[in-house]
């Protein structure tokens, strides 16, 4: 339960730091807080926005959490998100299910490039996954400016996906069926990690690969599997964002969801169920920042800053713990 305390402290610290910065820039913290709450949970509309923003965060958070627990440094969720969305767009004409499956596969393959480079060439995945992020980013740029650009060729974006491929919405809200998928994936991963033998082996690989190997675990398989699952989930995040929210691709589609996933995962202490709560927190942070930009003209980049503060607080707290 100390973990939950650590998470709450980290979240509170982030808010405190942000409030302090707001103060330093001449804004009243109480006012800022009021605007932030209004923008994130203050109305049904705001709440919907927060939940919708939380969905990709939940999935990229899960992606990072699975990888980190297996001891694999997948910093490539951003690129896997993009590639998943690209693949989903291309497969959209074949229907919703096909698009979702393809997004998972594409993300898994993109991540597996890094796995292959690690085992074949000793290239550390912490670097290769990041480099692949940039490659994916420019792949998207090329696609929306070139082969996949909208027919009228006015903006760097694609045409919308056929409505048969779109994720259904709940009534008149902006909430889409992706919520269900994301929650199901969350629960499935929790069961896998905490309740199955293979999940146990994956966690053991993350704690101590050497001891796991002596205990008969196929460490190579676990690493490859963890990367594939991680990439697949991130790819699914991209696919769902496309099919449920934006319905078309454009240059800034990814918007940092992949890197935010790291903050989400760490705040949740890499626990699948905790990731649900963590994703909601960061989703709220995002919508709050949007409202702050609208009302108080504070740049939306505070959200990125807030994520960094959370990460640093969590690991700072973690290492204090490790010392006693």
């Amino acid at each position: 339960m100390r973990r939950i305390v650590a998470g709450v402290v980290a979240a509170a610290a982030a808010i405190a730091v942000l409030a302090f910065c707001g103060l330093a820039l001449g804004h009243a913290p109480a006012e800022l807080l009021r605007v932030a709450i209004r923008g994130s949970v203050g109305s049904p509309f705001a709440l919907q926005g927060t939940i919708v923003k939380s969905i990709p965060l939940l999935l990229t958070g899960l992606s990072v959490a699975v990888a980190f627990r297996a001891g694999v440094w997948n910093i490539g969720a951003e690129g896997q998100f993009i590639v998943g969305a690209l693949a989903a767009f291309v497969a959209a004409p074949w229907g919703l299910t096909a698009a979702l499956i393809v997004s998972i596969a594409a993300g898994a393959v993109w991540a597996s490039i890094a796995t292959a480079l690690r085992f074949w060439r000793g290239a550390p995945e912490v670097l290769t996954t990041i480099l692949l992020n940039f490659v994916g980013l420019h792949l998207l740029g090329w696609a929306v400016n070139g082969p996949l650009q909208e027919r009228i060729a006015q903006y760097p974006q694609t045409d919308p996906i056929p409505s048969s491929a779109a994720l259904p919405r709940f009534g008149l809200t902006s909430l889409h069926a992706g919520i269900v998928i994301a929650v199901v994936v969350c629960i499935a991963l929790w069961i896998f990690l905490e309740r199955t033998t293979e999940g146990l082996r994956m966690r053991a690989t993350g704690f101590n690969a050497s001891a796991a190997q002596w205990a008969g675990v196929n460490v190579t398989l676990q690493i490859a599997g963890a990367m594939a699952i991680s990439g697949g989930v991130a790819g699914l995040a991209g696919g769902i964002e496309l099919l449920g929210v934006t319905h078309r691709l454009f240059e800034l589609f990814a918007a940092g969801y992949g890197y935010s996933g790291i903050a989400v995962a760490l705040l949740a202490q890499l626990h699948p169920i905790g990731t649900l709560v963590s994703a909601l927190f960061f989703g709220a942070l995002q919508t709050a920042a949007g409202e702050l930009q609208r009302s108080a003209n504070i740049s939306i980049t505070v959200a990125t800053f807030g994520q960094a503060v959370v990460i640093l607080t969590i690991i700072g707290f973690g290492s204090f713990r490790a010392r006693d």
């Binding site: 820039l25 440094w73 910093i75 480079l117 074949w120 060439r121 000793g122 290239a123 550390p124 912490v126 670097l127 290769t128 990041i130 480099l131 692949l132 940039f134 490659v135 420019h138 792949l139 740029g141 090329w142 400016n145 070139g146 890197y259 790291i262 903050a263 760490l266 740049s299 980049t301 505070v302 959200a303 990125t304 800053f305 807030g306 994520q307 960094a308 503060v309 990460i311 640093l312 690991i315 700072g316 973690g318 290492s319 204090f320 490790a322 010392r323």
Partner: protein
């Protein structure tokens, strides 16, 4: 484009990269992985622009760059050395922090003098020979021929041996971070003041990560990283040349070239690379 011009372009354009690589070699030799050089360089870029525009002196601009890098470097050092926190996560957080802060400052002050006016960089370019000749020689001598350098390298191989010899592991790692902060500070300043005409959001564009890759390729030695950066510089210059020549190759795919080249560089390690023994271990 003439061959000479091409080579000059390659060398000049990759000078910030080289400085970052040289700094990271020192730090990794002391046993720490600093993924945060991306953020440090970005902070240096912003710091240098602010300082240069406010004082109208380029020298102060470079000082501002070093200050920006050092601030984040100190933060990284606090977490990695004092708290013994995970270095990879800390480095990633530093990068996010830099992105957030510089983005915030830029947008807030976008209209102001500092960022609206282009930077004018005049005068002798000392940074390129510094980076390509002076720094590698000095670092090679310090690391391999002085007792300070010996102890620093021992920190990256077997810190226990350093403690047994009554020297401070933490002290040497902080010194390494200090050296890196200076070099990365100059790199960011040069990027913003000389190679560009000011600050732009996310202007480092992954140079920090490319630098990390070249450190590995160069096997943590001066000669190797000089070669690696030169190779990369040629490839990057090739990209610019292709762009300028208006080739049929799509613009965005050209933008991806540096990263693909870096991936190939990482593949060129050919399996067995021996990193400093205690690298990354708290």
């Amino acid at each position: 484009m003439h061959a000479i011009d091409f080579l000059l372009l390659a060398i000049t354009a990759s000078t910030p990269l080289l400085l970052a690589v040289e700094g990271e070699v020192v730090v990794q030799r002391s046993g720490i992985i600093n993924l945060g050089i991306e953020g440090m360089m970005l902070a240096a870029a912003m710091g240098s622009v602010i300082a240069a525009q406010l004082t109208n002196r380029i020298a102060f601009g470079f000082a501002g760059g070093i200050a920006g890098a050092a601030l984040l470097g100190a933060l990284f050092g606090f977490f990695a050395i004092v708290l013994r926190a995970d270095q990879i996560v800390t480095g990633t957080a530093i990068n996010l922090l830099a992105l957030g802060i510089t983005g915030f400052i830029y947008r807030e002050l976008q209209q102001s003098e500092i960022f609206a006016r282009a930077v004018q960089f005049r005068g002798r370019n000392l940074v390129v020979p510094l980076a390509w000749i002076a720094v590698p020689i000095v670092l090679a001598i310090v690391l391999w021929r002085t007792i300070f350098g010996l102890r620093l390298r021992a920190c990256g191989e077997n810190p226990e041996a350093v403690t047994a010899a009554r020297a401070s592991v933490a002290g040497h790692r902080w010194a390494a971070l200090g050296i890196e902060s200076i070099l990365v500070g100059i790199a960011g300043a040069y990027l913003a003041l000389a190679l560009s005409s000011g600050f732009a959001e996310n202007m480092t564009a992954g140079r920090g990560y490319i630098a990390l890759s070249i450190v590995i390729f160069g096997r943590w030695k001066m000669k190797g990283v000089l070669l690696g950066t030169a190779l990369f510089g040629v490839a990057a210059a090739g990209q610019y040349a292709l762009q300028a020549a208006g080739h049929a190759l799509p613009f965005h795919l050209l933008l991806a070239i540096p990263y693909v080249v870096t991936l190939l560089i990482l593949c060129g390690i050919a399996g067995r690379v021996r990193a400093p023994e205690s690298l990354g271990r708290a």
